[in-house]
């Protein structure tokens, strides 16, 4: 009897596990399937759960008819640029805040922490005007600068934690050997923060890659527009005809790189998410 209850409990538990996995993965699976189905199979009364019949038409359509290649390139430039700038500036500031004697340290740390929570919408109007005044409206640089609003404070905050975790002896040994503080940072400390840089860079990149509000508001036309606003505004030949197949194909194209990154860096992402502050 006891053995039976145990088996039953075990079965129920695994049922729960299966449910969690299906719930998490099915919507993406369905998007992938839909992106490979011809339109008539997409709009069937009884849709198949496998991509049969199979077609690449939607992918061709997305790249040949829409400006999706351009949007992808823009996303790569903007997210890559924002990540790189955040890492460079972030490492410098985080080293100072985590390792050097710096009187207003706590004030700056509070500022940085508050900034990680800052509502983008509250500066939308101000940034809009700033970009207009400086001629950076609808430019890659303008979008990159505006993304620093959320990528930089996050990077600094998490990297300060990494720098604090490094042993003091290394630094002291460098100073004894006559290294300047800057040399100590570049030659001794920086190489040790490698894993931290990968994690924060990855999280900053994902946040910038997924950003929608600024990309929607600070770009016009396709020259600078990134993928999220492009996907959101995909239209058909008429307002009543929504090209679901193409939308799903585009969705799969932007999501696959992220899913691969997540699969590779799973543990680091989890560590970074729980160590610092990042928006979901």
């Amino acid at each position: 009897m006891k053995a039976l209850t145990r088996t039953l409990n075990r079965a129920l538990f695994y049922l729960l596990v299966v449910f969690v996995v299906v719930y998490s993965v099915f919507p993406f699976y369905w998007a992938v399937i839909s992106s490979f189905k011809p339109s008539d199979a997409l709009f069937a009364a009884d849709p198949s759960f496998l991509p049969l019949p199979f077609t690449l038409d939607h992918y061709k359509n997305v790249f040949l008819q829409a400006n999706f290649g351009r949007n992808l390139l823009n996303s790569l430039l903007v997210a890559g640029g924002a990540t790189l700038l955040s890492l460079v500036l972030g490492v410098l500031a985080a080293y100072a805040l985590g390792r050097l004697p710096f009187p207003p340290k706590n004030a700056v740390l509070y500022l940085v922490l508050a900034m990680t929570m800052f509502p983008q919408i509250s500066v939308l109007g101000g940034l809009f005007m700033l970009l207009r005044q400086t001629g950076l409206f609808n430019t890659h640089l303008g979008l990159i600068l505006s993304y620093l609003l959320f990528t930089l404070p996050f990077t600094v905050w998490v990297l300060v934690g990494y720098f604090r975790g490094l042993p003091r002896e290394l630094e002291e040994a460098a100073y004894v050997d006559g290294a300047t503080p800057l040399q100590t940072l570049l030659k001794v400390m920086l190489p040790l923060t490698g894993p931290g840089l990968v994690t924060t860079g990855l999280l900053a990149f994902i946040a910038a890659w997924n950003e929608y509000l600024f990309a929607l508001t600070f770009t016009v036309g396709d020259a600078v527009k990134t993928v999220p606003p492009a996907i959101a505004s995909f239209g058909g030949a008429t307002p009543f005809e929504i090209p679901w197949g193409s939308i799903m194909a585009a969705s799969v194209v932007v999501t696959v790189p992220l899913v691969i990154l997540v699969l590779i860096f799973q543990q680091r992402i989890v560590a970074g998410l729980t160590a610092g502050a990042v928006k979901g």
């Binding site: 919507p27 050097l100 509070y110 900034m115 919408i121 101000g126 005007m129 999501t255």
Partner: protein, 291 residues
């Protein structure tokens, strides 16, 4: 001597970051505050006119603002509660030892990694009134008596959007709570088992009290995020008044209506609302981290 050089270097290293913060946050924020006291359009077609507090006075009686605030609060309370309960359940599942645990952890990261715009579109397609897979399966299994236009019926749009948000952000909640669970020493459970405490009793007397710090951090975090929600709402239902949140209404006022003065006043109101939560957040997390 070394200390002096270090301090000088520290200023030099922090300066670029402070400059960026001043440029992308400080200056725009000052502008928003300034223009909230004016009647002005964002392209300055008409010369701006100083109006004192009239934008804020209007805010207090604007029915659209009130509706947006109400929508935001509904969205926040319902989605954050659901995410907490579901996230805790998933965290407990992953925390227990079983084969395939790593696989489950990877699986739940997928919704987190998917851009919000994409997840909104995916769910829009799944919730399609005729060809959506949810309608097809629902009718087949007898869960729905007939197909439902989830995104057209006013009373169903917000619940549908909340379902999408819960799907997307529960993993984040689960991971934060999982990290909290992993900090609870195993011995406590062993001792409790020896004393004859049931699993259920252990959950209420050990797990929940010791998880509270992680739970509070995760809750505040998600609340802050939910209060400024824009993407999922705007993609799934645009500026529809029945789902329009503060952020959506704010963008509509500033960009679509080009109303810089009133739009700025709304921005300030959102900032104040969120700032209250930021203070709460810093009190819980900041104190520990700044030690």
């Amino acid at each position: 001597m070394l200390t002096q050089r270090q301090a000088r270097l520290a200023w030099l290293l922090v300066f670029p970051t402070l400059l960026v913060v001043a440029l992308v946050a400080g200056y725009p924020l000052a502008q928003v505050f300034y223009w909230s006291f004016f009647k002005a359009d964002i392209a300055f077609v008409e010369p701006p006119e100083f109006q004192g507090f009239s934008n804020y006075l209007y805010l207090l009686q604007d029915p659209d603002f009130r509706q947006a605030l109400w929508n935001t609060l509904k969205f926040t309370v319902v989605s954050v509660s659901l995410e907490t309960v579901l996230g805790l359940a998933i965290a407990l599942v992953i925390h227990s030892n079983f084969r395939g645990r790593g696989l489950v952890r990877t699986a739940i990261l997928i919704p987190w990694a998917i851009p919000t715009v994409v997840s909104a579109k995916m769910w829009q397609w799944m919730l399609h009134d005729v060809y959506g897979v949810i309608n097809v399966i629902g009718v087949k299994l007898g869960l729905l008596s007939q197909k439902v236009a989830f995104l057209a019926r006013p009373e169903l749009i917000l619940p549908a959007i909340i379902a999408v948000d819960v799907w997307k952000t529960t993993p984040f909640m689960a991971l934060l709570l999982l990290a909290g669970l992993q900090l609870i020493p195993e011995e406590l459970y062993e001792a409790a088992s020896i004393d004859g405490a049931t699993r259920w009793q252990q959950f209420w007397t050990i797990t929940l009290p010791l998880l509270t710090p992680a739970l509070v951090v995760a809750l505040i975090f998600r609340t802050l995020d939910a209060l400024r929600v824009f993407d999922v709402i705007f993609v799934m239902s645009g500026v529809n008044p029945s789902t329009r949140t503060l952020a959506v209404y704010n963008r509509q006022t500033l960009i679509d209506f080009q109303d810089l003065g009133y739009g700025s006043a709304i921005s300030v109101a959102i900032l104040v609302l969120i700032f209250a939560f930021v203070v709460l957040y810093m009190r819980t997390l900041g104190r520990e981290a700044l030690k």
